[in-house]
């Protein structure tokens, strides 16, 4: 009896069954960027350690980061950081109890997407101009 009650309990459908909504896509992207950033810390560790080890090791890291693949990684990393940062601030507002209405949540979602894109572009334009291409 008890067994049957637990077996027949209505379950929430899986992620694959839900139709992706704008807000749910933003939510899973927050997680995905978080995991990606955690992996990206390896880059930070490598960079700091190489700098501490000396000029040669540092030059190797810099050369890797300046290759097309290095730049692609850094570009992705910078976007992920800005996205996670902006959406994280959105989460902090929710934690404080603000912005739960659907219209507000969708608007703040758009603000996050735009802010992440804008900050990524600004960072790269400034960075590339500063070092002269």
């Amino acid at each position: 009896m008890a067994r049957e009650a637990t077996d027949n309990r209505p379950l929430s459908p899986h992620l694959q069954i839900y139709k992706p909504e704008y807000t749910s896509v933003l939510s899973i992207t927050h997680r995905a960027t978080g995991v990606a950033l955690a992996l990206g810390t390896l880059l930070l560790v490598w960079w700091l350690l190489a700098a501490a080890m000396g000029a040669d090791a540092y030059a190797t890291v810099q050369a890797c980061l300046r290759s097309w693949f290095g730049r692609l990684l850094l570009f992705g990393w910078s976007w992920a950081l800005f996205y996670h940062l902006a959406n994280g601030i959105r989460h902090l507002f929710w934690d404080a109890g603000y912005g739960f209405e659907l219209a507000t949540a969708q608007k703040s979602g758009w603000a996050v997407v735009i802010a992440a894109a804008a900050l990524t572009i600004v960072a790269w334009v400034v960075g590339l101009t500063a070092r002269g291409g």
Binding site: R31, G34, V35, L37, A38, T41, L42, L44, V45, L48, L49, A51, A52, G54, A55, Y58, A59, S78, L81, F82, L85, G88, I89, H91, L92, D95, A123, V126, G127, L128, A130, R131, G132
Partner: protein, 126 residues
């Protein structure tokens, strides 16, 4: 019906025995990382073309080394807490789950230690 008083329940801090500690630390490190990560990206962008000597001199300054150390501690703490939730949500095999949680925690501490060592060596290494 529970015969435990609300105070006893609060002192027990729930089934995980840590109450809102995880949730709160995740938020606290998040708030700390807002200025720290913005500072870090801005600094990296401004030093995009710097060589080793320049980079060393830059990081050795207390105004850089100290925020860098704070950034390292907050980043690895925040990353560990976040990965823990992801593992708890998606890894269903109990053994794999516990092993992953231990691995992530150890790795976060080791990587933070390496990074802190690197910054201190750059700052004091002479």
């Amino acid at each position: 019906m529970s015969l435990r008083s609300p105070l006893a329940r609060v002192r027990g801090l729930g089934s995980a025995k840590e109450g809102v500690q995880h949730w709160w630390m995740q938020r606290l490190t998040a708030v700390a990382l807002v200025p720290l990560s913005l500072w870090f990206v801005a600094a990296i962008v401004c030093h995009a073309g710097a060589g080793h000597a320049q980079m060393r001199a830059w990081i050795a300054a207390p105004t850089v080394a100290i925020p860098m150390l704070l950034l390292i501690v907050a980043t690895f703490h925040h990353a560990q807490l976040g990965l823990q939730v992801v593992i708890e949500d998606y890894v269903h095999h109990e053994g794999v789950k516990v092993a992953s949680l231990i691995a992530v925690k150890f790795l976060a501490v080791v990587l933070a230690a390496i990074s802190v060592f690197a910054v201190l060596k750059l700052a004091f290494g002479g």
